[in-house]
Symmetry: C2
Subunit: 201 residues, 2 copies
DNA sequence: CTTTGACGGAACCTATGGTTTCGTCAACTG
DNA sequence: CAGTTGACGAAACCATAGGTTCCGTCAAAG
């Protein structure tokens, strides 16, 4: 409370004491992802994760605020394989490549995403994180489409948000509801359908 | 075990005793729907439904196998407002009307559908019922599209399943993830985008 | 009047998310 | 080396919720 103490608002104390064990973090995330992707992924309990990771439940809650946070981090870590956003100057080509890349990355972790979605329905941490993730993806896709729009490769009246909803709508629909794969082939056909360069594939 | 008794495999005994009270059934479904659509719809407990309906928990489990079954029935009962499947001979018109009708019915119960979906992620009864419901809707839409295809209003190479996925994908994406409304206006634009009769709306 | 079965109330069991306590051990500092 | 900080494991603990069971009561049919 003294001015002397208040002068240093966030004292960057050099962290004494035992350090966090990185292996613990990784083990938790790895087991969480495995269990989440397993046949019974909708019902992963914290106890199960702790036991599988050979870690105490206490330690998990020491570093993550809720089960949703664990599942979110485990999933994002695996889905974040960098999806390149191409900019070759041709909309259909760019979109096709972007979607193929996205779908490939997402299809691998589809069971993860289903489980995470189930958790996000109840856990606000997971929900917020997922929204953020989804929003970032939308922004990249929107940028790609806007470039095409500016080059006149899309009709000026195109409803961008609806186009984006169509694309990600199909993706999530197949992941969450239909449980059918999203392949590079689907990416190609969808890209053509949305940009409609004449006849569909 | 005697032949005489075995001869009547399912004896349709005329049901003696006290009858089921229809008001109980209705009260449970009504309160369940209300709670599910409420601000906290993701976390409706059986106890809460029982209490709100002025009914014993025992009675609920007497008639429904699980919470998911209750929520499913409550939702379907409200979403089953008959959606007419028009057949005027013009694909775009038919599709537009069908989607407008569907979206109007679905948009009203969007919170219900979100809650039911959350439950379906864990309860197989709810999941199976939902799949059935979704499958029936897909079949109607497919029929409508096939008629247009037969009349040559769609390119012969059109991938019907992907078209259906695009449509219902957008709908579910807006309901579950974006939480944006699905309006008659969206129906119009989507119908035109999918049938692409020249320029988009 | 007797039987059947619906209904309410309440106790009960189990699983799970989340918290707390305690003891131990590893790392850094003086 | 000694003391302090803090990560970690073990286990008890609490609250909530889904689901079951038991009991007593009441309504409808023969």
């Amino acid at each position: 409370m003294s001015p002397e103490l208040a002068r240093e608002p966030v004292a960057p104390r050099p962290h004494t004491g035992r350090r966090r064990n990185p292996a613990v973090r990784q083990a938790v995330l790895d087991r969480a992802a495995e269990l989440l992707a397993g046949p019974d992924g909708m019902a992963v309990s914290i106890d199960a994760i702790a036991q599988a990771a050979g870690v105490s439940k206490h330690t998990i809650y020491r570093w993550w605020p809720s089960k949703g946070a664990v599942l979110l981090e485990a999933t994002v870590e695996r889905a974040q394989k960098e999806v390149t956003v191409p900019d070759t100057g041709a909309l259909t080509t760019d979109l096709e490549a972007f979607l193929a890349d996205t779908f490939r990355a997402v299809d691998e972790v589809a069971p993860l995403l289903r489980g995470l979605m189930a958790e996000a329905m109840r856990d606000t941490v997971a929900a917020d994180g997922m929204r953020e993730f989804i929003s970032a993806r939308r922004n990249e896709l929107r940028g790609l489409l806007v470039r095409g729009l500016d080059r006149g490769e899309l009709p000026a009246e195109t409803d961008l948000e609806m186009t984006i909803d169509q694309i990600y709508g199909l993706m999530w629909y197949r992941i969450l509801i239909a449980r059918s794969p999203v392949t590079a082939d689907v990416a190609t056909r969808l890209a053509r359908a949305v940009t409609r360069p004449g006849a569909p594939g």
